[in-house]
């Protein structure tokens, strides 16, 4: 089976915490534990005068890409619930192509 990963268009992530909570619910994590955690930079006025206000969800070592869900054809819970619909689950090679098309995006390779 090909290697699967997470693509995130962080240009459109607005930091809603749905991915964190979806993961917490899926994995029954106690409060304060995260399988994915949003990092934030800003609001900050960059040296060029533009406002920077950027979020990026980062999967932690607790993330297994929701193996139980994907096995039956469901999406990982974070991807399913992401409010900005900025996360995609898929084959790493396909997702890497998405990286080229989409400015301000990342692909996470897990395990």
């Amino acid at each position: 089976m090909s290697k699967m990963g997470l693509f995130i268009n962080y240009d459109i992530c607005f930091g809603c915490h749905a991915c964190e909570m979806a993961c917490s619910q899926e994995k029954k994590l106690p409060a304060g534990e995260f399988g994915i955690k949003i990092a934030q930079y800003g609001p900050h006025k960059n040296i060029n005068g533009d406002w920077e206000y950027t979020y990026l969800p980062i999967p932690t070592k607790l993330c297994d890409l929701c193996a139980e869900r994907t096995e039956i054809g469901k999406l990982p819970s974070c991807v399913h619930h992401c409010e900005a619909a900025c996360m995609e689950y898929g084959d790493m090679e396909e997702l890497s192509k998405r990286l080229v098309e989409q400015p301000r995006s990342v692909v996470f390779s897990l395990d």
């Binding site: 930091g15 909570m21 899926e26 609001p43 900050h44 206000y53 409010e83």
Partner: protein, 798 residues
């Protein structure tokens, strides 16, 4: 994933199925916990317990997405603080949670009925001395007036002690007067195909004015539709004292001094008219009073507005040009201008701008929203069922004082007049019945005054799903409330019509609908039986059958209709002012006296009110009260939303507190340096009426000279007994805001623009905490430090 696969996976056309160890039930989460929307949701039940919930990928409104609050529903529903049984204690035991004793529902109903018989009727008080209090939790809007009007026979329901009805009411007053309806920005949601509806095009410009819809998700508007539209090319204009995530993405963003919105909006209108950027055809055919409006705006040059608002005149020009020339402009509104004395004027100015640029009923513009079946399930519910006599209706508080109330602009009594009545016992307001609000924690300005006013009520009943500071402090009889998945209910605010099924129970908690029926049949059985209402399902069916345009019965909708869908989403074509869809008489035009959008408002004029917006400074501001500004040199704004909380809810959820542990006040780095405040330190925020403490969040995002403080904070993990009351006063920003001084239409109070000073908390200056100050010492105003004798009531200070 392939569509076919998704439909199979999520059981298209089914309302319930088995999946491994779970029973999955399809529904719509509404309230509680409170929410302005109602996403499609899949509840996963195990052994009768709602284990978790997921977004329904087959419901186009949210297509699988869900916010953090719904993704933590299990914690909301099964928390330690959840109320399980009716509770009763003696009036002298208020403040002591342990004094509550479990009683049965029958005992609770008997107790209420006996109180009304012996203490209201028996002592010669009229039924108007029984009043309802309602919050913004959404699925309590019709139930409270129904109970108050039809079970108790009183005309008096209020948005608790919410000075100036400062949520949506000022906005709808402006829009109903101007255009006979309430516009909601169009992101395709008025048709089931959403953004794929053939006639839909995304807004060219999304105007975000003093709002953060990504967090607040106002009525019939899901915040994330903004990012969906941005992906399809929409651009942003953002007006806000704080830089939010959208400001950083905006084509134009302007930070303005809180409370100056009408001045800035009038300057934008000025630019659009003077530079001839307005929609001539729409103005000529569909607007009334253009020349007067042009004249009114003529003094508001961008330079003048910029000086008032502490911003740049060229930015005002840029924003105005962008709004007028970049295609359709949608303006998803928030509540912030409702929470200003000058708010109606601000909204009128913004709505006028959308009118002269032709942005109503157009794709990607702003659509006059209505419930497609015409169901009365709002604050006006139950008013005209024939129970209230004209004499009794005339006893609604506030109708005499405020002309817009007497003509029905608000279906509720006026809360500032209620405050006056409670403080003076004139007229006596003896018994309160509260659903879905936590009055002095959240919505009442001058929290201390609100607490003392509520303590003057002789008998207080509250319905809630968890122990709150209000219940702990002021309530005698408590009724436990069912969560959304524990109730049958109808969602219709606005489209689509949705039915939700009760799939679980929790001890003796009941739905608000069930309480309407129980109390109705106890207090006024003749009326309720004459309508055939014996169960919650009867009640909901009665409401649907009264709706002039219903296409299905409630039972049909509940059962999934013929197509397996438990919702009804009729097509809603654009440009209905051309086809007669907006007026009761079926004629083209808008539902106003002139049939046009009234830039110069005939209805306001007929009532002796200002027909066009007029800018006024906030009651307390650097300009209106310069001496006060010397003592309190920061402009304070409050009430910005966050993802974790809906007003005062969710504070008991550890998963929410993990990412938002404490209340925060946002301070500009330069101000923080001058104040000697370090990041994350507890600081006192003090104004002329009182003080509270929150943690400093030092951020470039807030403009210098302005601070923004959280609202709705209490600490369920702390002692709930008086005087502490879960710390409900310690961080309560409404210790600083003013009650009984609403705007000129009776709408809008200055929650969003007042004055304060900030200083670090020390052990010395924290010896007497606000809870003690309010509950033990009788209020901040008793302390000479504050030197502001409580103003007795609106009217006396005019």
């Amino acid at each position: 994933m392939e569509q076919k696969n998704l439909e199979e996976l999520y059981h298209k056309g089914e309302l319930e199925w088995e999946e491994g160890e779970y029973t999955v039930c399809r529904g719509f989460q509404w309230t509680p916990p409170g929410c302005h929307n109602s996403c499609g949701i899949l509840y996963y039940l195990k052994d009768g317990v709602m284990d978790h919930a997921e977004g329904d990928p087959l419901f186009p409104y949210n297509n699988g997405r869900l916010c953090a609050r719904c993704l933590n529903l299990h914690e909301a529903g099964y928390q330690e603080n959840r109320l399980k049984y009716p509770l009763l204690r003696k009036k002298e035991d208020r403040g002591n949670i342990d004094a509550f004793e479990r009683i049965s529902w029958d005992e609770a109903l008997d107790y209420i009925a006996n109180y009304v018989k012996n203490e209201i009727d028996g002592k010669g008080y009229g039924r108007e001395s029984i009043f309802g209090m309602v919050g913004t939790g959404r699925n309590i809007c019709w139930q409270v007036p129904w109970i108050i009007n039809n079970a108790f026979g009183s005309p008096n329901t209020f948005c608790a002690l919410f000075s100036g009805d400062s949520c949506a009411v000022p906005r709808t007053a402006a829009t109903v007067a101007l255009m006979g309806g309430y516009p909601v920005s169009d992101f395709g949601q008025f048709n089931e195909q959403m953004m794929d509806y053939p006639d839909f095009t995304v807004p060219g410009t999304i105007l975000i004015w003093g709002a953060n819809p990504l967090r607040s998700n106002a009525d019939c508007f899901q915040g994330f539709w903004i990012t969906d539209a941005m992906k399809r090319g929409s651009q942003l204009v953002v007006i806000d004292p704080m830089i939010n995530w959208m400001s950083a993405k905006a084509a134009v963003q302007i930070q303005i001094r809180p409370g100056t919105d009408a001045a800035v909006a009038m300057a934008m209108n000025h630019v659009i008219m003077e530079e001839d950027l307005y929609d001539h055809e729409f103005v000529e055919k569909w607007c009334y009073g253009f020349d007067e409006w042009r004249e009114r705006c003529s003094e508001w040059t961008p330079e003048k507005a910029a000086e008032v608002a502490w911003c740049d005149a060229d930015d005002i020009r840029k924003a105005a040009r962008f709004i007028a020339t970049n295609g359709a402009c949608a303006a998803p509104f928030g509540v912030s201008n409702d929470q200003k004395r000058n708010g109606v004027a601000a909204y009128q100015s913004i709505f006028n701008m959308l009118a002269i640029t032709g942005n109503y009923e157009n794709p990607g513009g702003n659509t006059i929203a209505y419930d497609p079946w015409g169901t009365v399930m709002s604050y006006v519910a139950g008013w005209d069922e024939g129970v209230l006599t004209p004499e009794m209706k005339a006893k609604r508080l506030g109708d005499k004082e405020f002309p817009l109330h007497s003509v029905g602009f608000s279906a509720l009594g006026q809360p500032d007049i209620l405050m006056k009545a409670l403080e003076t016992n004139n007229p006596p307001m003896r018994m309160s019945f509260c659903m879905g609000t936590n009055p002095f924690v959240n919505m009442a300005p001058d929290a201390s005054r609100a607490y003392h006013a509520l303590m003057n009520v002789d008998f207080a009943v509250a319905c809630d799903y968890r122990m709150t500071p209000y219940i702990a402090g002021c309530v005698d009889l408590v009724l436990p409330i069912a969560m959304n998945w524990e109730r049958n209910t109808l969602r219709c605010w606005f489209t689509p019509m949705r039915a939700n099924r009760k799939i679980s129970t929790y001890y003796e908690a009941k739905s608000d609908e069930e309480i309407v029926v129980l109390l109705g049949n106890k207090m006024n059985p003749e009326f309720f039986q004459s309508k055939g209402i014996s169960t919650d399902m009867d009640m909901l069916e009665y409401i649907v059958q009264q709706a002039p345009n219903h296409t299905w019965s409630f039972q049909d909708l509940y059962d999934g209709k013929a197509d397996g869908k438990n919702y009804d989403w009729p097509d809603r074509p654009y440009y209905q002012y051309k086809t007669g869809g907006l007026r009761p008489d079926g004629q083209p035009g808008f539902a106003t006296a002139t049939g046009r959008i009234e830039l110069w408002c005939t209805m306001f004029s007929n009532l002796g009110l200002e027909p066009m917006p007029k800018y006024e400074e906030p009651a307390e501001s650097p300009v209106s009260t310069p001496e006060l500004f010397e003592k309190f040199p920061l402009v304070l704004t409050t009430g910005a939303r966050n993802f974790e909380f809906f007003h005062s809810e969710q504070r008991e959820q550890a998963h929410m507190r993990a990412t938002y542990p404490d209340p925060r006040v946002r301070i500009n780095p330069e101000d923080a340096k001058e104040l000697g405040v370090s990041d994350n330190a507890w600081v006192w925020i003090e104004g002329k009426r009182g003080r509270c403490r929150q943690r400093a969040l030092i951020t470039e995002g807030i403009m210098k000279g302005v601070v923004e403080a959280d609202h709705g904070w209490w600490f369920p993990e702390q002692d709930g007994n008086a005087p502490h009351l879960f710390g409900a006063f310690d961080s309560n920003i409404n210790n600083l805001t003013e009650n009984c001084n609403p705007g000129p239409y009776s709408f809008g109070a200055d929650f969003r623009s007042t004055l304060c000073k900030i200083y670090p908390c020390t052990p010395e200056n924290s010896a007497v905490m606000p809870g003690t100050e309010v509950v033990v010492n009788g209020g901040f105003t008793k302390n000479p430090e504050y030197g502001n004798p409580a103003v007795a009531a609106y009217g006396e200070q005019q």
